[in-house]
């Protein structure tokens, strides 16, 4: 794609938005390998410890999982809408939608907190006596559960920080209806976080 050059305050600024987005995608592929590797580990252990994984999954609260799925899908919608709004020059609408995305992300994290603390209060956490008394399949299930949903939650936190910077940029007009590739980059990252959850949810919560 051709480089789009824009006149900004009398000097030429060289941009290549397509290449910028391609850069983000290349980063997303490394995320695919990071989580993909873990999904492969999960798949193998589920294959080996089939019944024990089913038993362990019964401990998880699928309602909270489903609620968090709805929250993340909706936050994906709001960040996508915020880009369209900004393109159309509706700055305030775009800011509201970005803030709404952050609010949904906090909702997700609050649910995660409730879920994890309920598990931990029942004595199920890595290395706990109660967990170590269980079968090896169940120990593996909960180990993978904490690592994979924990790493995903870390991505949610990073996503919130990224989107907050974009909101600040939008307010300051450094991200505007003509120049919004950074908002798109944050959006792509956020959608990836959503896609990972789309697979985490059924594999952990719905196999019981």
């Amino acid at each position: 794609m051709s480089t789009s050059a824009e006149h900004v305050e009398g000097h030429m600024e060289h941009r290549d938005d397509v290449a910028s987005r391609m850069g983000v995608w290349l980063f997303l592929f490394t995320e695919l390998l990071l989580f993909g590797g873990m999904f492969l580990v999960f798949a193998v252990y589920k294959y080996i410890h089939y019944d024990e994984f089913h038993l362990a999954a019964k401990e998880l609260n699928s309602s909270i999982g489903a609620l968090n799925t709805i929250i993340l899908l909706t936050s994906s919608l709001t960040i996508a809408l915020s880009i369209t709004a900004l393109q159309q020059g509706k700055k305030m609408l775009s800011i509201y939608l970005q803030v709404l995305t952050i609010v949904f992300a906090f909702g997700f994290m609050i649910n995660k907190y409730v879920e994890w603390s309920s598990k931990i209060s029942h004595g199920i956490y890595p290395g706990s006596e109660e967990l170590l008394a269980k079968t090896s399949g169940e120990i593996l299930f909960f180990g993978l559960y904490y690592v994979m949903t924990g790493l995903h939650a870390l991505h949610v936190i990073i996503g919130v920080i990224l989107i907050a910077f974009m909101t600040y940029g939008t307010i300051k007009n450094t991200i505007n209806s003509d120049k919004y590739v950074r908002l798109e980059a944050a959006g792509l990252y956020w959608h990836l976080v959503d896609v990972i959850w789309i697979f985490l949810f059924p594999l952990f919560y719905l196999i019981a």
Binding site: S2, M22, G36, I70, L77, D194, F199, P202, L206
Partner: protein, 99 residues
């Protein structure tokens, strides 16, 4: 400069309506997975869940992540990345099947 926008740049981004339709479809598919898991078909439920998750990801990637309107190079890259993931999956299970 609004008078010479480069034509390939976002001239036909999805509308609000398209996004909302896709979002409703994603919610519907989520409800479907939960329902199928509730009826519980064992192995079939896992299979259905993975198929539905793949369809949901396809919708997010093509519409929300704009792959449908991006240059085709993006699609080729995604297929290359997925190809190597699937190869790892197949080789790994080729090992574990005969333990």
């Amino acid at each position: 400069m609004s008078d010479h926008h480069s034509p390939e740049e976002h001239s036909h981004h999805p509308s609000y309506g398209t996004y909302i339709v896709i979002w409703l479809a994603l919610l519907g598919l989520t409800a479907l997975t939960v329902a199928v898991a509730g009826i519980s078909f064992g192995n079939l439920a896992v299979f259905v869940a993975l198929i539905v998750a793949t369809i949901k990801s396809y919708l997010v990637v093509t519409i929300f992540m704009h792959i449908k309107i991006e240059s085709k190079v993006f699609t080729y890259f995604i297929f290359a990345a997925l190809f190597f993931f699937v190869v790892s999956l197949i080789l790994l299970f080729a090992d574990y099947r005969y333990l």
